[in-house]
Amino acid sequence: MTSTREATMTGNRRFRRDAGKLGYYGTAGALALLFLFPLLWSGWASVKTPHGFGLTNYRNMVHYGDGIGTYLVNSVEVTTMTVCGTLLVSVLGGYAFGRFRFPGKNLLFLATLAILMVPYPTILIPLYVLLGKMGLQNSLIGLSMVLVMFQLPFATFMMRNSFEAVPQELEDSAAVDGCGSFTTLTRVMIHTVRPAVVTVGLFAFLAAWNEFFAALILLNSSDKFTLPLAVVSMEGRTFGSIDYPTLQAGVVFMAIPCLVLFLLLQRSYVRGFMTGALRS
């Protein structure tokens, strides 16, 4: 008798638990679909042609101007330089801000963060003048330097917090082993902050790969154009008839490398966020 009552109770509880599970996965699944839907639709629209499905929209894109190859190479160059530059500056800077005391530290850190508070279209004009003075007009390096600057607030913040979270003991033991501060960084620290490095690198990649406005202002000849610039110019060829399908092909073409990299590096950047990178 008691055993049957117990059985019904567990049955009830199990039922309630199952219903709860169903509700949870139903809601979460629907939300996930809602978030994925625009991406899936864009992919679908980019291969849709008036006569079914095909790659016409992509073919239109590939044969534009100097050929998509030129723009692709330029984009790869700008992205590589921006990622490397951002990592170089922000790892060293984060190390300095996170583990050292030096005069002007707070001031420099606040100045770095202030980059976020400036309406960026304005600052591009003086930057253009300045790069010209440095002989970096119409150069992919100049553009990359500007992109590194725009990445610094996020990157420095992230790296600083990451370095701060490294236990003091680790640094001490390196010192005992006779490491200078630079060897400590390259041999010990860098492994501990690797998730943050991946996160910073990934966001630098996204920014550089997708940048339109700075590229428009800073690049002067079409042989230096990057992909976003080419895709938008392509759209404007016939004024008065926006070609939505080709536009979506451009969107997909731009998004795929980002999505692939995102999924590949997922483990690292999630850890980059989790292990204190954004702890405050």
Partner: protein, 440 residues
């Protein structure tokens, strides 16, 4: 512990080295690029045409194809080499402005003719008055363009390509609606009546179309009706608006009623210019004004289209002479070679064998009856309209009329959809005048 991950260390060092390597190599390549351009410049001197100079040219994406045709023809027959870079239409003025600030303008840059007064006044182009005066055909070049590019008695740019506003009517739909396809409207009231007749066909067919959220589209297509009746939209100096006039009121009353009774296709109210051409290409619009440069693009879609001049309320016709001018930038070191290209573009050979052959409007009034034009009655109509056209002149044209945030865009929205037409035009006239007089 310390020596546990030499591979990762090497990777980081590798990345750092790679950065430097990239920096160095890219610096060299970009330095080399500017060097070649520079040496081209030093080689020009006088009569740079003979030596073979690289001339850089900027244009906006929308007019790239015609410029490209001229450049290809020029490059294949000259020692000089013109290199085009085309920028997205919306961002082209931003590009010009920032490049000017950094003194890195190309040798030649083109501009929408209505923006030319501003560039000329800002001193972005070099003075070509004496060069132009030496041309044998100097009096036969589109006069309204010459005026737009003149500032303080000096000429700063020359016509590059032309685009006129005309009426397009769909002959197939006209026949279906019982209208005579050989009798396009001669007054604006007839235009409205014919549009309403076609609208009666129903289904996907609509009477007419406009860019109801596009300042540039509306000025281009409705101002000719005001001019045809002897009205003006502003004074000759472009400093005072006169949009609150009887002629303008009569014109916008007609368009307002076409929006109100649904003769306009539903998309017209929000049309900001981005799907304007597609609407006409679909072949479901009875009659609508549009740019003459679209004639080919519409015919290519198999639409049996007729071209007529834009009429005024009481008859008469006119057109908005739009398009691009091209000038030599004030900072160019290749002015002679650049002028060699610009003057070549205007001579008989280029105008007829390149421009007219592409069914584009030519910039020379004396070549209107060329071998290509006479073959197509629509082109003849367009060339005839050119003589009666105007190009409005104002220093602050873009900010006042074309920009989405311009007072003109607010005015036309009020005139078409607001509570009162008279109110929209009178408050609009005040706002437009204030914007025209605004100084930087």
């Amino acid at each position: 512990m310390i020596r546990s991950r030499p591979r990762a260390v090497r990777r980081v060092l590798g990345a750092v080295l790679a950065t430097f390597a990239l920096t160095v190599s890219a610096a060299c390549s970009s330095g080399g690029g500017s060097h070649t351009a520079g040496s081209g410049g030093s080689g020009s001197g006088s009569g740079g045409a003979a030596k073979g100079v690289t001339i850089t040219l900027w244009t906006r994406a929308a007019t790239q194809s015609q410029t490209q045709a001229l450049v290809d023809a020029y490059n294949s027959s000259h020692a000089n080499h013109v290199v085009i870079t085309s920028y997205p239409n919306d961002q082209y003025p931003a590009k010009i402005a920032s490049a000017a600030g950094a003194r890195s303008l190309p040798d030649i840059f083109t501009s929408d003719v209505v923006f030319a007064p501003n560039y000329a006044a800002q001193g972005l182009w070099t003075d070509v008055s004496s060069r132009f005066a030496s041309l044998s055909f100097k009096d036969k070049v589109a006069p309204s363009f010459i005026k737009a590019a003149t500032n303080g008695g000096k000429l700063f740019a020359v016509p590059h390509d032309l685009d006129l506003s005309v009426m397009y009517y769909n002959k197939t739909l006209y026949k279906q609606a019982g209208l005579d396809p050989t009798k396009p409207p001669t007054t604006l009231a007839e235009y409205a009546a014919q549009a309403r007749a076609v609208a009666k066909l129903g289904g996907k067919v609509h009477g007419t179309y406009e860019g109801g959220n596009c300042g540039g589209c509306i000025e281009f297509t409705t101002w000719p009706s005001i001019w045809a009746d002897g009205g003006q939209v502003m004074n000759a100096d472009g400093t005072t608006s006169s949009i609150d006039s009887p002629q303008a009121t009569a014109v916008y009353q007609i368009y307002r009623s076409l929006f109100a009774d649904g003769t306009m296709a539903p998309g017209a109210k929000q049309e900001d210019g981005t799907t304007w051409l597609s609407a006409l290409q679909a072949g479901e619009i009875g009659i609508a004004p549009g740019p003459s440069s679209w004639l080919n693009l519409i015919e290519q879609k198999g639409v049996d289209i007729g071209v007529a001049p834009i009429p005024g309320v009481n008859g008469g016709t006119s057109t908005f002479v739009g398009g691009d001018v091209a000038g030599i930038s004030a900072t160019s070191k290749n002015a002679d070679a650049a002028w060699d290209f610009l003057s070549w573009c205007l001579d008989d050979q280029a105008q007829v064998q390149v421009v007219a052959k592409l069914h584009e409007i030519i910039a020379r009034t004396d070549l209107a009856q060329n071998q290509y034009a006479v073959k197509d009655p629509n082109v003849v109509t367009i060339n005839q309209v050119l003589a009666k056209g105007q190009t409005p002149y104002a220093l602050n044209f873009n900010a006042t009329y074309n920009d989405p945030q311009s007072p003109w865009t607010t005015t036309l929205r009020g005139a078409f959809f607001g509570p009162s037409l008279a109110g929209a035009l009178s408050s609009g006239q005040t706002a437009i005048t204030a914007s025209l007089k605004q100084q930087g």
